[in-house]
Symmetry: C2
Subunit: 468 residues, 2 copies
């Protein structure tokens, strides 16, 4: 392990939990003041450094030598938000509570590095998420949003390891593309003078991933995607990150759902194993914006307890129709029409589990999906999860050249625009399929955050102008 001049709090806690409980001098402990409580002979200062939700508890013995020019003349002057350096301290631990070890220092060992104005936005009290969103320069220093960022980081690493364990190669498909993968018409155009041809930001890397899967067998990416959505809800972002995977030699939706379930359960397993380190210790002021820790932990545990149900779209519509007869939805469930958000949420809540809904009507889905034998439905799935709704969408792809051209023609698409994509079906074509997972949706669902704006450091949404 590399030794940098500063020590992270995470590594301090790690050392504290693995070394014998003898006093030890640590130097150069640097962080930000979370709270200060000054008594006559002692002061208690909580420090944070953003590598762990836990604070370092600093016990300062008051009245030291005459302070130098850069030293806090008194802990009385310490304020929430200041950055400080503790030149030297002795650590001690409370027996049986290893996480809550203390640093004991003298007053002259505590130096202020960077001050804060009297108007510093993050005071000791809990703020609402709305307040934090309005203060993007400091919002990530709150215990809750800091924990959310660290959580996302661990989720991403776990996914990368899962993919590597399953021989999936990570690839970097282009963000700048020539066309619209889905025909959804929600494209951002880029000034095209540079390339001399129409250029857009990608809405999905799937088509390029298919090219790469035909060379690598299994591949995946974690890449920003862009949709000029008009929906301004707590589940939509104009710029979001998508994990997409494409697997060759897969011809059944079933296999894709098995893969997706194993992948997500690996992530949840990591969450359960490391919950003390991942969950926030302090939460925002408005409890309607997030689930509390007990609810989140209960969700994690319940996700691992059983195999998640798979039902067909047709069966889903039957269930919805029965429900509608007793307790009407706003939208009547109708075979052939896409499921509404209220339908998805009811289904997930009915099963009290993530549910794979498979085999949607072909008219509800994109042109590249493999037609089932019934000619009415396609070999696809959506993973619907409680609270959130759709988390993953995937399908087996049409790997037959003639069938794909026919479907494109039927939809009035110009096959010439996707010649390269069609060429895959003429050059050693294989059955294959894949899926796309919205990273911010996954992170906010697992973390219990109700608005995916908080799952990305700086959100871009419909109607919100970009200030930084």
């Amino acid at each position: 392990m590399l030794r940098l001049p500063s020590t992270t709090f995470k590594s301090l806690f790690k050392r504290a939990s693995s070394t014998p409980d003898t006093p030890e001098t640590v130097r150069n402990v640097q962080g930000w003041v979370k709270s200060v409580r000054v008594l006559k002979n002692l002061a208690f200062v909580d420090l944070q450094d953003g590598t762990t939700p836990h604070a370092v508890k600093l016990v300062v013995r008051r009245g030291g030598q005459a302070p130098g020019a850069n030293q806090a003349r008194s802990v009385l002057q310490l304020k929430t938000g200041q950055s400080v350096c503790v030149d030297s301290a002795v650590w001690t631990r409370t027996v049986g509570r290893q996480q809550l070890f203390e640093l004991r220092a003298s007053e002259d060992a505590v130096r202020v590095i960077g001050d804060v104005p009297a108007t510093y936005a993050l005071q000791k009290k809990a703020h609402s998420l709305a307040f934090l969103r309005a203060n993007p320069v400091v919002k990530h220093r709150s215990n809750y949003l800091g924990a959310l960022l660290r959580f996302r980081s661990q989720v991403e690493l776990t996914l990368a390891q899962f993919m590597d364990d399953h021989d999936c190669t990570k690839v970097a498909p282009p963000v700048l593309t020539s066309g619209d993968c889905e025909g959804a018409g929600e494209l951002f155009a880029v000034d095209s003078r540079y390339f001399g041809s129409k250029t857009y930001l990608t809405v999905s890397t799937q088509l390029h991933l298919e090219v790469l899967a035909a060379a690598l067998n299994r591949c995946w990416t974690l890449s920003p995607c862009f949709r000029a959505e008009t929906s301004d809800t707590n589940r939509h972002l104009a710029e979001f990150w998508m994990l997409e995977a494409e697997l060759c030699f897969v011809d059944r939706v079933w296999d894709l759902t098995v893969f997706a379930e194993a992948m997500l359960k690996r992530v949840v397993g990591m969450c359960v194993a490391r919950q003390n380190e991942l969950l926030p210790l302090l939460v925002p002021a408005e409890h309607s914006d997030f689930d509390d820790a007990a609810t989140v932990q209960e969700r994690w545990n319940s996700l691992l307890q059983r195999k998640w149900p798979r039902i067909t779209y047709t069966h889903a519509v039957e269930l919805l129709t029965q429900q509608h007869a007793t307790q009407p939805f706003q939208f009547v469930p109708n075979w052939g029409q896409d499921l509404q958000s209220e339908h998805e949420k009811w289904l997930a809540s009915h099963f009290a589990s993530p549910v794979f809904i498979t085999d949607y009507p072909r008219e509800c889905k994109a042109f590249y999906m493999k037609l089932n034998a019934d000619k009415r439905t396609v070999a696809c799935f959506d993973l619907i999860v409680p609270q959130m709704g759709e988390l993953i969408g995937g399908s087996v792809r049409e790997d037959n050249y003639d069938a794909l051209v026919q479907e494109m023609t039927r939809r009035g698409m110009n096959a010439g625009d996707l010649e390269w994509y069609l060429a895959l079906r003429q050059n050693g074509s294989v059955p294959h399929g894949g899926f796309g997972l919205g990273m911010e949706r996954l992170v906010s669902w697992l973390f219990g955050a109700h608005n995916i704006r908080d799952a990305i450091p700086f959100y871009r949404t419909a109607g919100g102008s970009i200030q930084m």
Copy 2:
């Protein structure tokens, strides 16, 4: 480990090297035909599946039962590029050469899944990289470019693990931004009607990373960046991926170079440990486009052998001036001017090692770099590597509000545009620094590929219109 219906070749080889050498039946082996050689009673078919550079050697016993409708009526009809399924085969191994195990199957066990046209681009012979680039739909199936993609994937995973080991949180800063981080004027504009304000694609995530580092202590990202470069060289891309890291409580360039060196040595260590799996077995036709395996392996070993030198820019200019006196460069080395590519390459070759060049003149570098005590140079570094030139650029950042505003004013910048960035210096500011590493440059340098276009699956460059 999850069992999908197909077996990757990588996992087949892994099993073969860890199980006793007894014949075993394997089913459903699927891949693409690399080469076919037919003898009277036997045929030898090399299969690839893109998860490893190694081919599965298939020995087909000719003359089986009457073939079914979808079966290759004869191995005589097998062609390079076709996808095939071997329904059942028995594996055997050549003693002492575990990687070269064989599958033995009867002729009727081999089924063609997807055919190729007679014009299939990738024939058995070696192609040039120029030819492969012109065939983007199939180029990644070549042994060399396939190996390059797998190599990049392992490099990325190793970097992610290194960052996690050092308590760096992975973050997702925005791609859509309001301004130009560096003032370099090479921005791609995005249709701004959606956000109602000027919107660009990011050239560097650094400024946003600084906000996040002030909350997380250490953070990093791997994110696409965009520069409307006019340079059309083998080292420039309009869309590239950059690893950027930002570390708090760092006030010396030295510490940043130690971190960067440890990070890259971790990657090289992985390369050495896994070279048999990472290096290509077949190389393109034109040897001027890449280094051969022996050269690459020698490079990896030599990189680990010693500490990489650090020299100041001022010292570098002295060395260059001496060299210029005996063997003139095209550009005269001159203190105060940026180093030219030829200078960088000479320095790296002179030291026969990556070299950190530190403390450049302030006028050569960006506004946010920390001014040194001499008031003429800034606390920054470039890492220069043989063959490639600049691989990493980094610096300590100016963390003092007044000094930063003064420097922006001196440069004629509008401080109002970066109010949020300046606010960091007023709210618990700490010494911090970081760096940016071009992922494609790292990958092509380590892999010995001379053109970074090959280190990204689909390249976007000046003057190249986007076809897919």
